[in-house]
Symmetry: C2
Subunit: 362 residues, 2 copies
């Protein structure tokens, strides 16, 4: 969807409200935000989807008027951003709109959480993601590999394997980035920077013709969009490599199926056929890593049980097996722990062997 189309959507919303003022009670319809209660797991597509239940905010309703007004303010700012061809961070949106309304002496927004929520509501109301409204999330993550990109707006062009060990830093929005040329066979997503640097140092991207993406914990929206585009624009298979703990497993889950909160845009942000390469509980046995496991804490245990009950893990036998082993053994394992074998082990044995034998969880 191009800029003009998004502006048009905002104008249509404004027009509708303006006309409703004639008749009495203007309102904004919105789709209720995703949570475990109102999402559904699409088994066929292996994706989390929002069960759309409509809400309504009315201007002449004391309980609604604050959020109604806030929505109009955010929509007006988004329109301005689009027309000026600027982008703004979530925090900037908050500060731009925060002020005290005279006479009633009320603040438009008290906290950023308020404006963040309104931005998400507006995404669902308009059916566009915030990046299309030129509002950016935080950026995080790096890319290394033989892939050439171009910044459409600025005209810059670069190859992500020619920027030194550090690779290319993924911006908060990649909607202006074209993927010009890809000379690789697949994508490996890595949870931690240290592993990313290890694999670059060991020349794994060159040896296996792979693109490496470091997500630094939970993948940012920019990183998820990039993974999605590499999969669907360039048909590259994607492998995810995280710690063997519930937090690592959920990083994989979000890349694959989307998050509950953003379930209204799973089709846009999720990449359903990514595969999980490790670390698994089986690895601990297979590579005898008992000496470098960590004790499963109570908070980890609680989280494992939550994951086990999610619809998309519930009927997945292979994953349930991992969860049960974790609970039985009461251990977790970091990807860095492979260094206990040797620094090269992860690049020379662990990953190539798993890829060759296709030892993946899906």
């Amino acid at each position: 969807m191009n800029k003009k189309a998004v502006v048009k959507k905002i104008e249509n919303l404004a027009k509708k409200i303006y006309e409703e003022f004639e008749f009495g009670s203007p309102s904004i319809e919105f789709i209720v935000r995703g949570s475990l209660k109102n999402i559904e797991y699409d088994v066929g597509k292996d994706i989390i989807r929002l069960k759309k239940s409509l809400g309504k905010r009315e201007f002449f309703n004391l309980g609604h008027v604050r959020k109604f007004t806030q929505t109009i303010m955010v929509a007006a700012l988004a329109k301005e951003l689009l027309e000026k061809d600027k982008t703004a961070s979530l925090r900037e949106v908050y500060y731009q709109l925060k002020h005290t309304i005279p006479v009633v002496n009320e603040n438009t927004f008290e906290e950023q959480a308020e404006s963040d929520a309104i931005i998400e509501d507006l995404e669902r109301t308009l059916g566009v993601i915030r990046e299309q409204m030129h509002i950016k999330a935080d950026r995080r993550g790096s890319v290394y590999g033989d892939i050439t990109m171009r910044d459409r707006k600025r005209g810059d062009e670069w190859n992500c394997a020619k920027l030194g060990m550090g690779g290319w830093s993924i911006p908060s929005t990649i909607e202006d980035i074209d993927i010009v040329d890809v000379n690789t066979d697949y994508v490996i997503v890595v949870e931690k920077d240290a592993l990313f640097e290890r694999l670059v140092e060991e020349k794994l991207p060159e040896k296996l013709r792979a693109i490496l993406i470091s997500v630094k914990g939970q993948a940012s929206r920019g990183a998820r969009r990039l993974i999605h585009r590499l999969r669907y624009e360039h048909r590259l298979p994607v492998l995810v490599f995280t710690d063997g703990d519930p937090w690592g497993f959920y990083i994989y889950s979000v890349i694959k199926r989307g998050s509950m909160k953003l379930s209204h845009f799973s089709e846009y942000l999720a990449t359903p056929d990514v595969k999980f390469i490790g670390m698994t509980m089986d690895d601990i046995e297979e590579y005898n890593l008992w000496n470098v496991t960590m004790k499963l804490k109570q908070v980890d245990e609680k989280r494992v049980k939550e994951l086990m009950s999610y619809p998309w893990f519930k009927n997945n036998k292979a994953w349930q097996r991992q969860f049960r082993k974790m609970l039985k053994w009461k251990v977790k394992i970091e990807q860095d722990a492979l260094a206990s074998k040797s620094l090269e082990f992860v690049a020379e044995k662990y990953l190539p062997e798993k890829i060759e034998k296709e030892k993946f969880l899906t």
Copy 2:
């Protein structure tokens, strides 16, 4: 100091210990780690320096033998890394060395904190920084601007203004990076990514001929080395732009004078003549930002009082004035808060005006 010289230092240490075994009690001398108690503030150089007090670890001493052995293990690994021309993260070092010693049934290292501390001790014993031993800290931070860099080892060359909005991601060690060409007049260090992206979007680096460095909170060692080198290899003045709170002020302080913990290498990591451009308490008055200040929390207040008492802030009238205002008004201000004026305000008015009038704290 080149690789060979570092290897030589490690070999000399090993040789000394080996020879001492002949006479009875081998020992390793080390310099006690920096803390508020054993550092001194060098007023002339405006830098924190370690008051060197020597410690000694003896092999035939039950209280020392664990750390003694750990030091030998880390030194041996560092030598191996240098000879193989590999680098390792702090966590990889921990996992590489962690194992159970048979017979005594004792673990070499229980936690990463143990190996981290030994690495720091060894830095002071050998007089080299960990990067020179090929051991890396975490990486964080980005660079944007008309500066050309080359990775000596890999032969890559790039310009940091030609990689799209994201800029170049600073790796954990920049010892292999040459700064080939610099077409700018100064460096602006920014605390937050969102501000970094704002300034890139507003074309401030082009308009003011500046290099932008985003440090993302406390500056990483890689970022601090880069700032240091831009100052001393290329004579660029450096301005630091952070939140107006004790944490932002301390980011500036560490870039300028080094941290207490790393005071043994201040000359290498610190950049004494950086200047602080904002945010200040005066800014709140000058630009009427009262509406977007935040309440000073108890933990902030405690931290302000600590900063006030540090030797390098104690006799600095301009800084004491800021601290007192902060405690009196009980507010702090984020750099993002400038967006309340307009998105462009920070790039079109705030920074250029402060630079033109040289309104800096030093």
